[in-house]
Each structure stands twice: as C-alpha cells, then as structure tokens.
Amino acid sequence: MNAVNDTIIKINDLKTYFFTKRGVVKAVDGISFSIKKGEIVGLVGESGSGKSITSLSIMGLVPQPAGKTIAGEILFNNEDLLQKSKEEMRQIRGDRISMILQDPMVALNQILSVEYQIGEMFRHHKKADGRSLREKCIDVLRKVKVPSPEMRIKDYPFQFSGGMCQRTIIGMGIANKPELLIADEPTTALDVTIQAQILQLMKQVQEETEAAILMITHDLATVAQICTRVLVMYAGRIIEKAPVKAFYKNPSHPYSVGLINSVPVLGRKADRLYAIEGQPPNLMDPPPGCRFAARCDKVKDVCLKSYPPEITLEENHTVSCWHYATDTE
C-alpha cells in the first residue's frame, strides 16, 4: 500500500506526552498512519482525544516546555522531522507543511493588517519584497475568492467577516503551495452556509495545488463531504482506519459505530439522540486494555487486560478491537 514515492508523510508509533506536576499526560500514545500525495484524510475523534496534539507534533509546535514528543518517527518525504533542528523545522513550516487554524476570528492578529499577516508567509521563505510582496498577498486573497482583494488587502481582520477571515487563513495556508496541509477544524467556528463554501474551496484548492490534507474535525459530515480516508482517534490512539465509503457503510469499532449513530439524521424521528455513555479514560493513567472498554457494549474479559492489535478487515480498512480478533481466529 505504501509505494514510497507518493507517500507524503508517514508516522510511526508517535508518542507525545505532557509532563505536568500532577503526572504524565499521554496525549498521543503510539499512533501510526500515512498520507499519500493528493489525499484528504480525516482525523476524527472527540475533544481531548489527541487530534490537535498530533497535528502540533507534526509541525514541531507542541507547547513547550511541558509537552514533548518522546518516541516515534515522522517521515516527511522520508526525512524524519523529529531529527530536524529548530531552524530546519522553521524553514519547513509555512513552506512545505502548513496549517489552518480553527477559529478565524482569533487566528488573525486584530491590530496588524491582513497584508502584513499574509506577507509573513512569504517574508520568511520566498524572498519577496515591496511591490511583488503586495502582488503576492493580493493573489492569495484572490485565490480564496475574497471580493475586491486590491481594496481589502489593506484592511484589518476586524473589518472582515468570519468567512472572509477563514478564507484568508486558508489562503495563507496554501500560499507557498505546501506538500502537506493540516487543517485543524477549519469549519467548526463558521455557520453552515459558509461551512459548505469553505469546504468546497478547500477541495478546489487541494485539486489545484495537489497538496495532501490532514483534516482534523469532529464533524462527520465534513469528513463525508471531502475526505478520501478516515482515521478515528480515541484517547490518544487511532482505533480505526478506513476509506470513507467503507467507514460509513461498515463502521467496525464500537466507538465508530457510536459516533455515526450519534449524528442526527434529517427526517428520522427519535425521542432522544443517541449518546455514548460514560467518559473517556484519564490520560494520565490509561487502562492497560482497550481504552474504550469501559464504555463499550461488546466488552469482553480480554478487552480489559491487554490492548487489541490492529486487525485488517479488508484493504485499507483496519480496526483495533478484540471483537474482530476472535472472528478471525
């Protein structure tokens, strides 16, 4: 499955821990996945499951000094990013790997002009100056369809609407045509009509730049709309990897099933929305077995004792659950 030359990024057994006074929080605890050129991969999971920390680990921006990536490899075009120096990482960031942040209204500095902030993407990588810099900034806005970019370029973020801010941020993300774009919940803070526009825009941009996108979200509708593959994360681990169609048709991990069932469906009448009972485990002291065991309705003895192996159900579809292990035995 991994023809080496079109794999953009391959992550092996990544562990990012937070060392706090009260103990070690195992925010990301041994995850592996890879993304191929031109793919849009959705990383879904509830709040606190380690999605954002995964993305920050890739960027080399884990909050210091508490956070530390202690093990694993992040192979970006076969180069391990964890072995890079700070300066090398700084040069890769924004140029070859870029990121789109969650809340457009707070992701832009309110007292610096839009032009200045877009310009930062160029100033540190492609030595653009003066007029060519302004041209490039206008191009960025034009590419993400902000109306009359020549006029708006001098504006400040508070003069932009939420959608325009998010467009600007997407524009900044793709300004240098990165090979990998990490989008951390790019549509969560927007209203539904703008969400659709932004997703459409991202897909279009992705087709133009051929960037691989890692889409972090907790919105399964977003995943269904634009992703090609899904990774489901729970309590610091990836528990299911599947192509989008297989995931919706045949969600395998009990948690994935729960996730899909808890999405309200238009036209279906239900007294109560389905909810998965219980709380995710404390990541300072995770249980030895499956981390979902305490909330799982198919729980068995073995689930509590040891962590399930990754089981391949069909091509590209794997799940970490003892339930399927017994099926194959």
Binding site: M59, I92, S98, L101, D103, E120, G163, I194
Partner: protein
C-alpha cells in the same frame, strides 16, 4: 460570496455603539480636562519656554536679589514670582526648568522601558528558565532601595543629569518587566501567535512584530503614569544634591538651594514645588484618563 458581504455589514453595527461608548469615555468627568490643561501648559513651556521666559535661567542681578513675588510688599513687576539670593528670576528658572524635567524624564523612560519591555517580552514569551531568571532578577532589583543605589552610582559616576538617567533607568525597569511579562504570556496563548509560528517566523520577530504592537496601549498608559513618578524621583535626587548641579534650573535643585532661606524667602521653595506638583498631577490625571479610554476591561466599572 454575498453571504460573507452581508456578514461584514452587520458587523459594523456594534462598532457604532462602541464608538459612542468611546466618545462617552473620552468626555467623562472634568478631571481629565484639568490634567490635560496642566500637561498642556507643561508641554507648551517645554516647547516655547525659551521665548516665553522673561529672563535667562542664569541671568543674575545682585541689586534685585531676594525680591518677593510681585503682589507682595517690596515685590517688583519685573519679577512676577520674585528672585532668589543671586537675583535670578524664579519664574524664568521654573520655565526653563520644565525643559530639564521633561528631557530627564524622557531619557529615563527611554532607558528603562527599553530594558523593561525587552526583558518582559523575553520572560513572557520564552518562559521556562529564561522567565525564572528574569523574574528573580526583578525581585532582587525591587528589593534594592533606590536612593541607596542612587548614592552608590553617584559616587561612581559623579552627580549629573546623565547620572540621574542611569540611576532611574537601572532601578525602574522591573515594574515594566512584570506587567509586560504578564500581558505577553496571555497574548502568546492566542491563535495568531500560533499562526505566526506556522508561517515560520523566528522568535524575535514574533515578540517584536506580533506581540509588541498588542502591548502599545499598556505601554502608553504605563509611560504616562510613570512620567509623574520620575519627575518626583529626579527632583528628589536633585534636592539631595545627587542630580543636576548648579546653576541648572532643575526644580528639585531650586528647592534645595532655597531650603536654607525658607524663613524669609518662602517663594524659593514653594513655587518650584508647585510646579512639580502641577506637572505630576497633570500626568497622573492624563494617565488615568488614557487607561480608561484605552483599556476596555476597565471601562465596565
């Protein structure tokens, strides 16, 4: 597209309300007007004192020595606020002295806000060990009594205006460092700082181009409130003979010189004192007013 344009129109609505609030805050109360008046007079004298003052600051005339203010018996209309022991015009010396006071205050602020803000940014942004070292240094510095330190520095450098700037500069910075550090820490948590990192900005660039502009309000307020304190501090140092030397028309120095004649020439001490008071009061009132206008968090009271 039209959706996003509509959004931007509706967003301008709260701005109008905000602007009305701003106007209200700007015009509230009479005290700021008094402050602005005092500061205005002070700055006017700094700028035009050279032409306004009736005499030079060191123009002496022993015949007219120790004249009382013009409205008192024996006073002369040529010397409105009287003359000192050498016959120098008190009013002229106060007017010329404003320039000294401001120059020294600006010098002090330039020195210590530079040190204070830089260290505060480093501590707040880098955190960890840098933060700890800078903050302990602050504690150490704040524990040192300024006047004792001043005497020490004067004994090394000798008394002069430059010495004052050095003294105040090296003693005053911890206050700035602490405030800037706190603000910087909270600003660093913002997503736009993360975005700047994502863009590949270096730490120094993030500190000075992305965080520092957000601190402008805080620094303006601090500086305005500080000018008053510095004027008092420099006057104190000059009064103790640690600062500017005669015949400079420094207000503190004038008070010191008049001190021994206070029994029969009270105006030599009182008028420079009043000048100090008015300048300090003015800057403090303006500082309070600026804080109210520039800091929206304070406005909700």
């Amino acid at each position: 597209m039209s959706g996003s344009e509509k959004l931007s129109i509706s967003q301008t609505l709260p701005d109008i309300e905000q602007e009305q609030k701003n106007v209200q805050a700007l015009t509230r109360g009479r005290l700021p007007i008094l402050g602005l008046l005092f500061v205005g007079i002070f700055l006017f004298l700094v700028a035009f004192g050279y032409w306004v003052a009736p005499y030079e600051f060191d123009e002496w005339d022993l015949i007219d020595a120790t004249l009382p203010p013009a409205w008192m018996e024996g006073g002369s209309s040529k010397h409105l606020l009287g003359t000192d022991i050498l016959g120098r015009d008190v009013l002229s010396r106060i007017i010329h002295g404003s320039r000294f006071s401001l120059a020294i205050a600006v010098g002090c602020i330039a020195v210590y806000s530079t040190i204070g803000v830089t260290l505060g940014l480093l501590a707040g942004f880098l955190g960890g060990r840098t933060d700890m070292i800078v903050m302990r240094l602050c504690d150490l510095w704040m524990g040192m009594p300024a006047i004792i330190l001043a005497i020490l520095i004067v004994s090394i450098l000798g008394p002069s205006a430059t010495t004052i700037i050095v003294i105040v500069g090296v003693t005053g910075w911890p206050a700035y460092t602490r405030i800037v550090r706190g603000e910087c820490m909270s600003i660093s948590q913002n997503d736009y700082i993360k975005l700047a990192r994502v863009a590949g900005c270096r730490n120094l660039r993030i500190m000075f181009s992305h965080i520092l502009p957000n601190l402008a309000n805080t620094i303006i307020i601090m500086v305005t409130l500080n000018i008053g304190q510095i004027i008092i501090l420099t006057a104190t140092l000059s009064f103790l003979g640690l600062g500017t030397q005669p015949p400079s028309p420094d207000w503190g120095l004038m008070m010191n010189e008049g001190r021994q004649y206070i029994n029969y020439a009270w105006w030599l001490v009182v008028f420079p004192g009043v000048a100090i008071m008015m300048a300090v009061l003015g800057f403090n009132l303006v500082g309070d007013w600026l804080r109210e206008v520039l800091d929206p968090k304070q406005r909700q009271r």
